[in-house]
Assembly symmetry: C2
């Protein structure tokens, strides 16, 4: 039995989307797990009542089992990261993460202010020994299996040692969450040869070549959409958070752009359907903040109820697989 | 009248593709310009004879006007960059670029070893005062107008000053080659705010804010496929060569991957036709090495005759627009 805390106030469509996501998750998970809705209690109760009007008795019963955890403050998308710690410690981020630090919750999921969530997660949950910063692991859909790209935005200037740590974090994520037996790790660079890349990447290559992971060597931008390089399928892409974030946002925009052009050229929505679906980020349910002692899942601010529900499922999977303990073992090693 | 030197030995499909490109260009340009085919003379004459068998009298006449410049050595795609300068100075790269340095040619176009072409171009043509390294400017097709992204691979670790120089180079390219009146420059980062980005980008933002260019501020990966950010259309994207190269290779691979998925889902080749064409890199004819005193156009190793012909046209445009002198004025300023 897991207890999953959901930020009811976070994201562009809060509180509607988180509440709807909680109802979807409750229907899917059944009574074995507890959902904790964290936020302003009156707002949550109002929205719940609205969404439950006319709902099935099953859903009514599921909602009965929700735990509502009051958090008086609200963090805005425009607030600075530090607000979550110093300015508004009684907002849903601080309250939800403290539940976990105090052993009263197993995972925290939010579509709110990402910077604030990172800061609060590191401050409240703390990092595993051996890590200086957390990393965001984002799943990229590819023509074959999805790959996890990290860091995708938590760290902009990365040392070789940090890049090596990302490989360890990615290894655990790919194993525990994506179910890859022996995750294959690629180091993103601008040429296959070990001497290609910027200074940090070249040194990281040397570290990765001898740290016992299944290291494919350098991969290039062209290998990611296919999910494969000429040495085999890729499970984990290691890069600094600047490159990863640029790539992630580029990828999120390029498919809609192409689909728009295709529709103008007469391709129908129905024809695009299957492909659009297989590339849909909502399926992957948010990106875990890897390296913290616990589970903190970062969802896109624009997340739909479906995407947030998948974030809840990702949080559950991270908890059940003991991902955080596995990371502790890895970065200690 | 311009004299354009074409590397007849460079690229995966040499000498067939360069010779075919020269014939296409000759037919399009007419007798006003001279094409200089640089490479092993017997190989060039053989290939020309083969391709001219049965050709129209017009094409036969055009080929008569080719200047064949003998270069005994051949640089392989696997050779190290230094080979162009020290190991094989009598290869087509060295010979073709020296023609230009000696005032006997106006532009050099190659689909050969990119590292060797960069090294030889800087060594033989030299850089304009005020520059420490050249930059590769690559045109990215977008949903709106194409944008030039630089650097896309010549420099991996870039200082803020270099990023500022890329903006100057991109300004001239967008004006002279893409015909943009007042090129709008975006600095690629991971957030719109000036304090977002890695150390070099944050400092470059400050430099760009006061150097008199039409600076849009930071842009994000998501703005590139649309060719527009919320402050307006983008003409130039400034980034370090690591990020630019990763993005370029990712972009080159993501469209074919999506098209492949769509065809599996039943979309026909005909339906994809117009969009595939509008994203075709061959149209943009190679990437100029910006910052050298002269014109050196880098084409993809896989370039088709059509792509190489467009490389020749790009070289001509760079020469006629006096791009190199305009760059000298900019980086002196």
């Amino acid at each position: 039995m897991a207890r999953i805390a959901l930020d009811a106030m976070g994201g562009d469509h809060a509180p509607q989307a988180p509440i709807a996501a909680a109802l979807l998750a409750a229907a899917e998970l059944g009574p074995d797990h507890t959902l904790q809705l964290v936020g302003q209690e009156p707002v949550i109760r109002d929205e719940l009542a609205k969404q439950l009007a006319g709902a099935s008795p099953l859903l009514q019963a599921a909602a009965e089992r929700f735990e509502i955890v009051h958090a008086p403050d609200v963090i805005l998308m425009t607030d600075k990261p530090s607000v979550a710690i110093r300015g508004k410690p009684q907002a849903s981020m601080g309250v939800g993460l403290r539940l976990q630090a105090e052993g009263k919750s197993d995972a925290f999921i939010s579509a709110g202010n990402t910077g604030a969530q990172m800061a609060a997660s590191v401050f409240i949950l703390r990092l595993h020994d051996g890590l200086e910063r957390p990393a965001i692991g984002t799943v990229f859909p590819t023509a074959k299996q999805p790959v996890v790209v990290l860091d995708s935005g938590a760290n902009v200037d990365c040392s070789p040692k940090e890049l090596e740590n990302f490989a360890q974090l990615g290894h655990v994520y790919a194993k525990d969450i994506l179910g890859r037996e022996k995750p294959a790790i690629g180091l993103l660079s601008i040429g296959e040869e070990s001497e290609k890349g910027n200074a940090a990447v070249k040194e990281a290559h040397q570290l990765l070549a001898k740290n016992g992971l299944n290291f494919l060597g350098n991969i290039e931008g062209r290998d990611i959409p296919m999910g494969v390089c000429d040495r085999g399928p890729i499970d984990v892409v290691v890069c600094d958070g600047f490159t990863g974030n640029v790539l992630l946002k580029f990828y999120e925009a390029v498919a809609p752009m192409l689909f728009g052009m295709l529709m103008k050229a007469g391709v129908t929505k129905e024809q695009l359907g299957a492909v659009v679906h297989s590339l849909d980020y909502a399926k992957y349910g948010g990106a875990p903040l890897l390296g913290v002692k616990g589970v903190s899942i970062i969802c896109h601010g624009k997340s739909s109820p479906e995407a947030l529900k998948n974030g809840i499922l990702a949080g559950l999977r991270a908890h059940e697989s003991k991902m955080s303990s596995h990371i502790a073992e890895r970065v200690h090693a």
